[in-house]
C-alpha cells in the first residue's frame, strides 16, 4: 500500500489554501478541461505553515473591512482546513524556526505560497520621511495585522495624498473618506476605528501617472465611491470629456470612462469631505523637515511610443500639494526567502508551471504558487486556477517518480520537531479558538468579529478553552 504523499505549504493565504484544497481534493473533484475530474489518486497529507498565528493571509489583512462579502470566501478555506490530512502550523516562520532545506528533507514536496509582503519602490526623494508610508502598511494597520498595529499614522492634516491608481489606492481613499460611524459595524481594528473617527482628513487626492483609462482599479471599486455619503468626488486633469475620442474600448474601459464622466459632470454638493481623482500627475519629491509637509507633483501629457503604447511624459509643470500623509499605493512586491531562488526584477520565485527553477533546472519537489509565482496580480479566485496548475505539476511529478521521497518524515515526527522549535505553535484548533473568541466579542458590539491585533492576545486566545464550552 502506498503511504500518503506528504506536502508542506508555506503561507496560509488564498494561494496556499487553494493549493491545500486541490491537494486534499473534495468529492466534487477539480475543474479541468470543462468538467470536474478526480485528479488526486492517492492519500495526501498537507501541513500549512504561516508566520502569523492566524490563517487566510490577505483575506484577513488585505481585503477592506467594508467589503465583508468578499471575506465569506473563508468558508471555502475553512472547509479545506476541516478535511482529514490537513494541519495548520501558525506562528511558525520559515527561514527562522524552520529552514527551507529542512522542509525539503522532511516532506515529499513543498509549495511556496508566501505572497508579496513588500512594496514596489517609488524612488523619489523624501519617501522615508515620517508620514510617508506604503498603502500596504496602512491597510495592514487598519486590518489589525500584529506587526503594524503600532504604526505612526497622523491623520491631523486635512489633506492626504494616495499615489497610485489600483484597487488598493481606491480602498485606502475610501476608508479615509468614510463618514465617522460607518466603519463601526465592520471588523476594522479597534485602534484604526478610533483614529479614523477622530481624523482631521477632509480631502484625499488620488494621483494617477497616466490617463483615467490606464487606471488599474476595477469598476466596482470606482463605482463604489459614488455611494459614499457626505463625500464629493472630483476628477482633475483627466480629459474625460466627450470631445476626446479615446479610440475603441473594451467593456470594462467603457464602463470606467462612463463613471468618470459622471463624476466630472457632477456639481459640487459642498460635502464635508472630498476625493480628488487627479490623473496625468507624477510624484516628484516629498518635502518636509522631520516629517511630510507636502508633495511636489509634476504634470504629464500622454505620448504614443513606437509600439503604440501610451507613455506619460513630464510637461515640466509642477505644483506643491500640502499634506501630512502620503500613502504609496504603487504595488505590493515580493520579498526573498532564504535559500529560495528569487528574481529581484519581478519580485517572484522563478518557475515553470509552478516548478521552482534554479540555475536553469527545476528543483525536484519544490513548487510555487500565487503572488510568489506570478507577482501581485489578479483577484482572490485567480489564485485558485494557479494553485490547481501548480498542484497538477506536483501530482504529475509524484506519479512519474520525480519527487525526492527518501528521508520523508512521518506527520508525528514533524510535529515533534516543529513544536520543539516553536512551543507557541497555533494549530488548527488554536485558530478555531481565536476565531470563536473574536466572533463572540464582535457579536456583543454588532460587528462580524472583534479582531485581536497583538501576538500575546492571539496566543492567549489560541490556548484558551475550546469553542462552544
Amino acid at each position: 500500500m502506498t503511504r500518503s504523499l506528504r506536502v508542506a505549504i508555506v503561507g496560509a493565504g488564498p494561494a496556499g489554501m487553494y493549493a491545500a484544497g486541490h491537494l486534499l481534493e473534495g468529492p466534487g473533484g477539480t475543474y479541468l478541461d470543462g468538467r470536474l475530474q478526480q485528479l488526486v489518486d492517492r492519500p495526501v497529507e498537507v501541513d500549512v505553515f504561516d508566520r502569523l498565528p492566524t490563517p487566510w493571509g490577505l483575506l484577513r489583512h488585505g481585503v477592506a473591512p467594508d467589503h465583508p462579502e468578499k471575506k465569506l470566501v473563508e468558508t471555502v478555506f475553512a472547509r479545506t482546513a476541516a478535511r482529514p490530512g490537513f494541519r495548520f502550523y501558525g506562528n511558525v516562520e520559515i527561514g527562522h524556526h524552520v529552514h527551507p532545506r529542512e522542509l525539503a528533507e522532511w516532506y515529499d514536496a513543498v509549495v511556496y505560497a508566501h505572497g508579496a509582503s513588500g512594496d514596489a519602490p517609488l524612488g523619489i526623494p523624501g519617501e522615508d520621511l515620517r508620514g510617508s508610508l506604503s498603502a500596504r502598511a496602512f491597510v495592514c494597520w487598519y486590518n489589525g495585522h500584529p506587526d503594524y498595529r503600532d504604526l505612526d499614522i497622523d491623520l491631523s492634516h486635512e489633506r492626504a495624498v494616495v499615489i497610485g491608481n489600483g484597487n488598493v489606492a481606491l480602498d485606502v481613499a475610501r476608508i479615509l473618506a468614510r463618514p465617522a460611524g460607518s466603519l463601526r459595524g465592520t471588523d476594522i481594528a479597534e485602534h484604526a476605528l478610533t483614529a479614523l473617527e477622530n481624523s482631521g482628513v477632509r480631502e484625499i487626492v488620488v494621483l494617477g501617472r497616466r490617463a483615467p483609462l490606464d487606471g488599474a482599479f476595477h469598476n466596482p471599486e470606482l463605482e463604489e465611491l459614488a455611494h459614499l455619503t457626505g463625500v464629493d468626488i472630483h476628477v482633475e486633469d483627466g480629459d474625460v470629456s466627450g470631445d476626446h475620442d479615446p479610440g475603441p474600448l473594451d467593456q470594462d474601459s467603457r464602463r470606467k470612462l462612463g463613471t468618470l464622466r459622471n463624476y466630472a459632470a457632477r456639481t459640487t454638493r459642498g460635502s464635508s469631505k472630498r476625493i480628488v481623482l487627479r490623473f496625468l500627475s507624477s510624484p516628484v519629491r516629498i518635502v518636509g523637515h522631520d516629517r511630510v509637509e507636502g508633495l511636489l507633483v509634476g504634470r504629464n501629457r500622454l505620448e504614443l511610443d513606437a509600439e503604440g503604447g501610451r507613455r506619460a511624459r513630464a510637461t515640466g509643470d509642477e505644483i506643491l500639494l500640502e499634506t501630512g500623509l502620503v500613502l504609496r499605493a504603487t504595488g505590493y512586491f515580493g520579498t526573498p526567502l532564504p535559500e529560495l531562488p528569487y528574481d529581484d526584477r519581478l519580485g517572484t520565485v522563478p518557475s515553470i508551471a509552478g516548478r521552482v527553477i534554479a540555475g536553469g533546472h527545476t528543483v525536484p519537489g519544490r513548487y510555487v504558487t500565487g503572488w510568489a509565482e506570478r507577482g501581485p496580480r489578479g483577484i482572490i479566485g485567480t489564485n485558485k486556477k494557479y494553485a490547481r496548475d501548480t498542484v497538477r505539476s506536483l501530482l504529475d511529478d509524484a506519479r512519474h517518480a520525480r519527487l525526492p521521497l527518501p528521508g520523508t518524515l512521518t506527520a508525528e515526527a514533524v510535529d515533534g520537531i516543529v513544536r520543539s522549535r516553536q512551543p507557541q505553535v497555533v494549530d488548527h484548533n488554536g485558530w478555531l479558538r481565536i476565531d470563536d473568541r473574536e466572533r463572540r466579542a464582535g457579536r456583543a458590539a454588532r460587528r462580524p468579529r472583534h479582531k485581536l491585533t497583538d501576538r500575546p492576545a492571539l496566543l492567549d486566545a489560541a490556548s484558551g478553552p475550546p469553542p462552544n464550552s
Partner: protein
C-alpha cells in the same frame, strides 16, 4: 429572467464548475480569466436552475428580478459581457 453575478464576485468559479448550462464566463483557462474583474452569466443561455446561487461562497449571485438596489446595473453588466442587451 436569468441569474446575475454582482460585484462581490471574487472569481472563485465554484459556480462555473457546477453550471449545467455552461453559461458562465470567463472559464479559468479562457484568455480573459487572469484579468477578469469578476465572472458573468450569459442571460440568453442561463436556464434559471439556481445551482450557482448555492455554490457561490460569497453570495454574489442573485435572481435578476430580485437584485439588491445597489447592484441594479449588474443585469446589464452581465449581458454586455456577452455583447447582449439586458
Amino acid at each position: 429572467v436569468a441569474y446575475v453575478i454582482g460585484p462581490a464576485c471574487v472569481a472563485d468559479y465554484s459556480c462555473l464548475e457546477i453550471c449545467p448550462a455552461d453559461c458562465i464566463r470567463p472559464r479559468p483557462d479562457d484568455p480573459g480569466f487572469d484579468s477578469a474583474e469578476q465572472l458573468y452569466i450569459d442571460p440568453a443561455r442561463c436556464i434559471d436552475c439556481d445551482a450557482c446561487v448555492a455554490a457561490c461562497p460569497v453570495e454574489a449571485i442573485h435572481d435578476a428580478a430580485r437584485l439588491p438596489a445597489a447592484w441594479a446595473s449588474y443585469a446589464g453588466v452581465n449581458a454586455a459581457y456577452f455583447g447582449r442587451a439586458s
